[in-house]
């Protein structure tokens, strides 16, 4: 496997520093939420996980379309790396959302449009990764997973706009007009932390995918 690039190391370092400072701000500096109290602070993990899982899935979608049009295998490496990152962030989103919902709404889970579409989003991209693991020819795997990624991506705008298209228990998107300015700042700070970690992660994931690809594309060793 290739060694990590300077950019990849830098992204991890910046992301880690931002994450530590950002969580310090979120836990100790920013005021608690008026209605929710201290439990409202889970927002600073939940919302960055939501934003960056959508970003990761979008990168995966762009790379999948890019692979299908250009045939460049490095696009497939980007697609799988960002799909994996998206699935992990999506799992974090669902877990923190559940922990958030119990004390505020009163339930761990309810089948409202936002929650359901977020769960479907996770399942479909897990499906894409499962599909990858059962197809062994690298070229065919890249094509199949690119097509399935495009299909899975249909649900991303549905998830994002679900709170506006349907009645739900989940509130619609907040904006700086509905949110305390200190909270907006800390939220964005933590989102940038996760963004940098995501960029580092994409670098690592691409290197792993490239090394798997190289191994599988190599001609078989001559056996004695």
């Amino acid at each position: 496997m290739r060694p990590p690039s300077k950019a990849e190391r830098a992204a991890y370092a910046i992301g880690l520093v931002l994450l530590i400072v950002g969580h310090g701000l979120a836990l100790f500096w920013v005021p608690p939420e008026r209605m929710m109290g201290e439990v409202g602070r889970i927002l600073y993990v939940h919302v960055p996980a939501a934003w960056l899982s959508l970003v990761a899935y979008t990168i995966s979608f762009g790379a999948a379309v890019g692979f299908l049009f250009t045939g460049r295998r490095s696009m497939d490496h980007t697609a799988v790396a960002s799909a994996e990152a998206g699935v992990v962030l999506n799992a974090l989103l669902l877990a923190t959302g559940s922990l958030f919902a119990r004390p505020t709404w009163g339930v761990w889970w309810t089948w409202d449009p936002r929650l359901t579409s977020s769960a479907v989003m996770w399942l479909t991209f897990v499906g894409v990764l499962l599909l990858r693991s059962v197809v062994h020819d690298p070229e065919r795997r890249a094509t199949w997973s690119a097509v399935s990624t495009v299909m899975a991506y249909v649900n991303i705008p549905i998830t994002y706009f679900s709170v506006q298209m349907w009645r739900s228990i989940h509130q619609v998107q907040s904006n700086p007009g509905t949110m305390d300015s200190d909270m907006v700042f800390v939220l964005r700070f933590n989102a940038f932390a996760v963004l940098f970690l995501l960029l580092g992660w994409l670098g690592t994931g691409r290197r792993i995918a490239a090394s798997i690809d190289a191994r599988e594309s190599a001609p078989p060793l001559e056996s004695p």
């Binding site: 005021p31 939420e33 008026r34 409202g40 505020t104 339930v107 690119a146």
Partner: protein
């Protein structure tokens, strides 16, 4: 091994299927039949509502909340502005529950026109604000000690 043309054909086909699926969801009337909760007006208007387990959503009417502290039950009115339904709760609502807030309750419309529920959920708005006066409100405590 796929040729470049085949692969591009896959891309166009996948994008077309994905795009039309998204268009169908966006512009169809799915939302008309698939609703997460009914408003009080819809609950009143629907003759089949009695006895079926449904969700009812609306705002808790200020001044209508009555607690029974001995068994933890509560009654309150839920409104959408035009119709109002009296809700009998057999459960402890979550800590954010209060008069004037949005709720979604799961249960059944009783024959006397009230709504019996075992599950009260609070619908929070998209507002996130610092507490007035600089201290976090101890909401759980104020609900138990002073329900006003």
């Amino acid at each position: 091994m796929k040729t470049a043309t085949q692969r591009r054909l896959f891309a166009v086909a996948a994008l077309a299927v994905a795009g039309s699926a998204l268009g169908m969801v966006s512009y169809s009337d799915m939302g008309e039949d698939l609703v997460y909760y009914w408003s009080p007006t819809e609950l009143r208007a629907n003759a089949n509502a009695k006895g079926a387990t449904v969700r009812l959503g609306g705002l808790v009417v200020p001044g209508t909340l009555q607690w029974n502290r001995d068994d933890g039950t509560a009654t309150f009115d839920v409104t959408d502005g035009s119709a109002t339904v009296r809700v009998r709760s057999q459960t402890n609502p979550p800590q954010m529950f209060r008069e004037g807030i949005g709720v979604v309750v799961e249960g059944k419309l009783a024959s006397d026109g009230a709504f019996d529920t075992q599950r009260v959920m609070v619908k929070h708005s998209n507002e996130y604000q610092a507490p007035e006066g600089g201290h976090p409100p101890d909401v759980a405590r104020t609900l138990v000690v002073d329900p006003s």
